[in-house]
Symmetry: C2
Subunit: 720 residues, 2 copies
């Protein structure tokens, strides 16, 4: 298969002969692959890339879900437009729509708060805590005990690390092969500095999402503020700009085809080391099933939304999310099938196991046996997947899940914080309360009831052994959609949880008060919560088993790869990573070749005047006049917009800086091509490409269209 | 605009620097552009290309709607799979589905009749008859008289030319600037020789229609038979293969990127010399309106078809046609808008008129004045377009149009044949009778009534001046959809025209009998037909005016181009043409480049096992085994499937041979790319490409998959 894909790519002359280097590398791994880095063109000493406190990693921050970087000594931060979108939304009114118009603060005084929940996380320390965690684990522990022990050891590490203004987390690598404590400065005063209009920042919108050729100017600027004494502090007028340790230098000349480029950031999650059985389950069950469920959910919302526009508004963001996932899942399926991913994984596993056998020895035999156990555990997980799906769907009914959460919280509250279930510790309470407050904004009782009926319709089809006695007792034999509808309607009629003050009352109440309540939803939640908790505990126990078995698989994998002289990068887990490669196009299929750069000519081609292809008139005019102010690429003979590279990125990398061979800023990663959607499971060096907005386009838009010369000066960009 | 598109193409290296030569040239024009032909790579003497009786044009034939060529001295003909599709359909049964399985006659005895209406037309003579036609025209004639005079002059020419086994037609060039009499041998015994299975011949189906990259093996073979004495004759078992004057030589090595290539064939119709106002009308009215009408029509059929599958079967071919047009119209709109076609035409007209003015003189002033009159006539046509559309839609009701046709025929029949209206002459009767017989196969009374109601709903919105008194009288005030529905239901209830024997009875009847009939549809038809005839006559009169004005515009255009040293080719009119250029890819939009060749790797990529992407398993296996039997391209390193060239083709060119610099067969044209759909109005050398199936793929499929070595030997193809 690989060979076939290779042959496809070879039929074109455009593809660089440099092979992509798959991998989201931990900074500490980079000196170990120094030769490869240099072979691809890195001019920096690879050792400096391992140092979080040195240039350039010292300039990279997380926004929590997005990546960003400092680009001025006064805490100016650049990231994607879609990462500053929330800040634009928060500061927009129908009369003054910043999303539509864009925004530029000409002075620091004009900057707008990005909201109390906006964060900038500056990673200051990464420390291996594997010994501290594994020391707590006994060989004889069962899954539940193991899970509990790990959870508590992690909580203890976090507690010992966290101090005012700092947030600590233990990240699990290779499914438990190692644990690393990551300490981050948590900056809480984040301000909106600049964003182009949506017609540039989101040009192409959902139509072009995951697509190439792309012409999106997906960039925007924030600024980090701290108290006058340099500490993390909530928004206050007299806070001062944070002074970062390092600031990315901007290379206003950008990169050209074939040049070295790397992306540093916080990729969220990949499944690169899943077993063939898991990939098959995703292809045969998970994605197709979820596609069906999401379409049904959209039908429910759209029908209700047509009848009442207010309902449509409440679920607009859910609809956008569902559509986004639908497109993504379609891409996953297409990519996994096209890559014959199950067969690839199957072959890899067979080779690994053959190697173990060839090595011989008790240790390798034990590893092989554990891989067998991992397969068994995965099969057991699969046996419960339909139950888990059905309960998950019932839980999508917000009033039901709220009831269960209130019951659960009241039970955890009396415990010592370290003994509380994850998600119910004191640090989680603000989030829970916020959720209870905000529920009204995304809740319609009619739709919510339909969600519950939909989930129950699936639930009642489960075999007896998988069902919840308390839920069955409440159902009292109801099984047809009409019966379920009646049942749920009565449930909602007897509950006041749709009232915010009522929810907040129960948030503050103890179990005794909740037990005494005659609210129908709380009554159901009281009955069902222990059974849901039992299932959650069983899942924890399984996770405990997995935390033993997956590392064994990875141990075998690492040994095998080591025998071939190959390093192994861990799956993405939202920790800081580096991926490197070269600017290059792609031949996505026979007869088709994509250039590494798009140019402004494509904006004129795509422009229809109608969102999402409504480029600003001034931009169209400037492009036609070739008014590129010295930012055009001499090689391309015009101004580039976005570019492709063979980098290994995923969600969470949004906003990550693309750096050249000297570590200077040449763009921002913001998406992958369609073929890379399934890259989370299997990276295909021939087809997977990251998409970056080109620094030259960013600077041109800022200077020529939005006159943000104050920022260009602050970033040290000279104007020609 | 042109410059902008050019810039887009230039950003890639794949595009040949040779500029396309727009033009569907009359063979006689080719010696006049010999230098250009040779510059593009032609090695033949351009003079031989002007000779219909010489090689290669002597080998080119028309199938009536498709083009084909002789490839053996025993009358073997190659054309597209979709051009032999009807013959496959005719010979298929549910038990023996030749479309699905393909067909190969291993001997001439096994060949199957392609049906009594199959034809092969061999052009034997093209003669300019302009003087003979124009001699009949007086300067003072009004439009009606002029139209009549032209029609009669043409009829006379045809009559004088036609003899047993020969068909003659007068073709109008440049809207009446010249007339040419074309004499063709009409071969009536056509037999099916070979076609690959549909999974090759129609691989990609409607999904890939008009698309690139393409992987369709769109080819098939027929054989022409004549009586033993060499004359045209209907199918008879002891007919013998026709011996063509010339036979194309096959170049089994094919062509490579950049090579000279030309396509000879019978393009149907283009609108290259329409005025800006006409293009605007197409963009603003015709295409969008027809898209709406076609969608409504599909809704009517689909709703009825869901309720009754038999109805779906009856309208399946109409549905396929409507969907095909919908896709096409979408492409027209997209292409015309993207090319800013109205502005391009407007500029061209302004330049032409400026040139006329600069030349000065009474003759040029008269030309300019006539261009003004042409614009006025076009505006008048536009004023009636909504009426013409509404009546056309009413006429889509087959029972209504049948009634009108029967009434009309009965009136024409008593006249001398030359005086009969076009379409009602003796030569047309067989066709009319056939239509009356076959009506049942594609007629459902419920759907037909809905068609009539749909058309009437549009008709009743017309202003009073545009309405038909007789139709209004029948409507008797009915105007709401419900009223129209009742009216039409009563009309159909009172008619027997839905019975074949009844229709055939009236076909044989005279006007007196029809006038006496109390069939409700015939009554309506009797009343309305004179008014429809009046409109048709007015249209003829307008056509008569146009036949005076369009040639004047073309006269100016030709003079203007001549002043620049440029020849002018006429719009396509189903007469034999030659288009030439080079094998080359295309950059359809910013960032995207299409290779000139697709390869068999793409078949494996597209294969899903499900129609239309269900390549034969044997083919997939052969591709994976690289069993190309010497047919692979050394340059590509694999077997090509289809290729692009910058040739100027349109519908009717299907099956046209693609010839190399020496006039040898290297492929068959079968489609254009998406961007060329609007090329019928405006040829864009940067974007428009013809799509050919590669001769190497044809030969490989024939040899390796279908073992048609008998045909390869007959064509003189040596096997390696």
């Amino acid at each position: 298969m690989r060979r076939l894909l290779l042959a496809t790519a070879v039929s074109f002359g455009l593809i660089s002969s440099a092979h992509a280097v798959e991998g989201m590398w931990q900074p500490a791994q980079l000196p170990g692959i120094a030769a490869t880095l240099q072979q691809h063109g890195l001019k920096l000493d690879p050792k400096t890339l391992a140092d979080l406190t040195a240039y350039p990693l010292g300039a990279i921050v997380s926004l929590g879900g997005c990546t960003a970087s400092f680009v001025s000594p006064a805490g100016l931060i650049v990231s994607n437009h879609h990462c500053v979108y929330g800040a634009l939304q928060l500061n927009s009114t129908p009369e003054n729509n910043l999303i539509e118009k864009g925004f530029l603060a000409r002075t620091q005084g004009e900057e707008l708060s990005a909201g109390p929940s906006s964060r900038v996380f500056v990673t200051e320390e990464i420390r291996d805590v594997t010994p501290a965690i594994t020391a707590k684990l006994g060989a004889s522990m069962d899954g539940a005990a193991r899970h509990k022990a790990i959870e508590q050891a992690i909580k203890a590490e976090v507690k010992a690390c966290e101090s005012d203004g700092y947030r600590c987390d233990v990240y699990t690598f290779h499914g438990g092969y190692s644990y690393q404590l990551i300490k981050q400065l948590e900056i809480k005063d984040v301000r909106l500095v600049y964003a182009p209009p949506e017609s540039i920042g989101k040009f192409g919108g959902d139509v072009d999402n995951w697509m190439w050729p792309r012409h999106t100017g997906d960039f925007g600027y924030l600024r980090a503020y701290v108290s006058k004494d340099g500490k993390s502090a909530a928004y206050a007028k007299d806070n001062v700009p944070y002074q970062p340790r390092h600031v990315l230098k901007v290379n206003a000349k950008g990169v050209e085809a074939g040049d070295y480029v790397m992306v540093t950031g916080y990729p969220g999650r990949t499944n690169r080391y899943r077993l063939a059985d898991e990939v098959r389950s995703a292809i045969d069950y998970t994605y197709p099933t979820q596609i069906g469920v999401y379409q049904d959910t959209l039908d429910i919302i759209n029908t209700a939304g047509k009848a009442d526009p207010k309902v449509a508004v409440k679920y607009a963001s859910m609809v956008a999310g569902l559509n986004n996932y639908l497109k993504n899942f379609g891409g996953q399926l297409e990519g996994l099938r096209r890559a014959d991913a199950v067969a690839v994984k199957r072959t890899q596993e067979a080779e690994l196991e053959a190697w173990l056998q060839k090595q011989g020895g008790a240790q390798n035999a034990a590893l092989a046996a554990d891989i067998g156990k991992l397969r068994t555990a995965i099969a057991a997980e699969r046996a419960d997947r339909e139950r888990d799906l059905a309960l998950g769907l019932v839980n999508r009914a917000a009033l039901f899940s709220t009831g269960v959460r209130l019951v659960h919280l009241a039970k955890e509250r009396p415990k010592a914080d370290l003994d509380r279930d994850a998600g119910y510790q004191q640090r989680d309470w603000v989030r829970i309360e916020g959720g209870l407050k905000q529920l009204d904004r995304r809740f319609d009782p009619g739709v919510d009831q339909q969600f519950m009926v939909y989930g129950l319709t699936r639930y009642v089809k489960l075999p007896a052994a998988q069902r919840l006695p308390a839920l069955d007792a409440w159902l009292d034999g109801a099984s047809t959609p009409a019966q379920l509808k009646t049942k749920v309607a009565a449930l909602y009629a007897g509950s006041q949880l749709d009232r915010q003050d009522d929810r907040l009352k129960w948030f503050a109440a103890d179990s005794k008060a909740i037990d005494a309540s005659s609210d129908s939803m709380l009554e159901l939640a009281r009955a069902v919560q222990p059974e849901l908790k039992r299932i959650a505990d069983a899942e924890d126990a399984r996770a405990g088993d997995m935390s033993k078995l997956r590392p064994r698989y990875m141990q075998a994998m690492i040994a095998w790869k080591q025998s071939q002289g190959l390093p192994v990068y861990p799956d993405a887990n939202s920790s800081l990573r580096v991926t490197f490669g070269n600017v290059q196009g792609v031949a996505p299929r026979d007869g088709v070749s994509y250039a590494p750069f798009t140019t402004v000519a494509g904006i004129v081609e795509k422009d229809t005047g109608v969102e999402p292809f409504n480029a600003p008139k001034a931009e169209i005019a400037a492009i036609k006049a070739k008014a590129f102010d010295g930012f055009a690429s001499p090689k391309l003979g015009t101004l580039p917009v976005d570019f492709l590279a063979d980098l290994d990125i995923t969600g969470g990398n949004s906003g990550s800086p693309a750096l050249d061979a000297h570590g200077q800023l040449v763009g921002l990663a913001f998406d992958g091509n369609w073929e890379s959607v399934s890259g989370d499971w299997l990276f295909n060096p021939q087809l997977n490409r990251s998409i970056q907005v080109d620094v030259r386009y960013m600077l041109w838009v800022m200077h020529h269209l939005d006159h943000a010369d104050n920022l260009l000066r602050e970033m040290g960009v000279g104007l020609r």
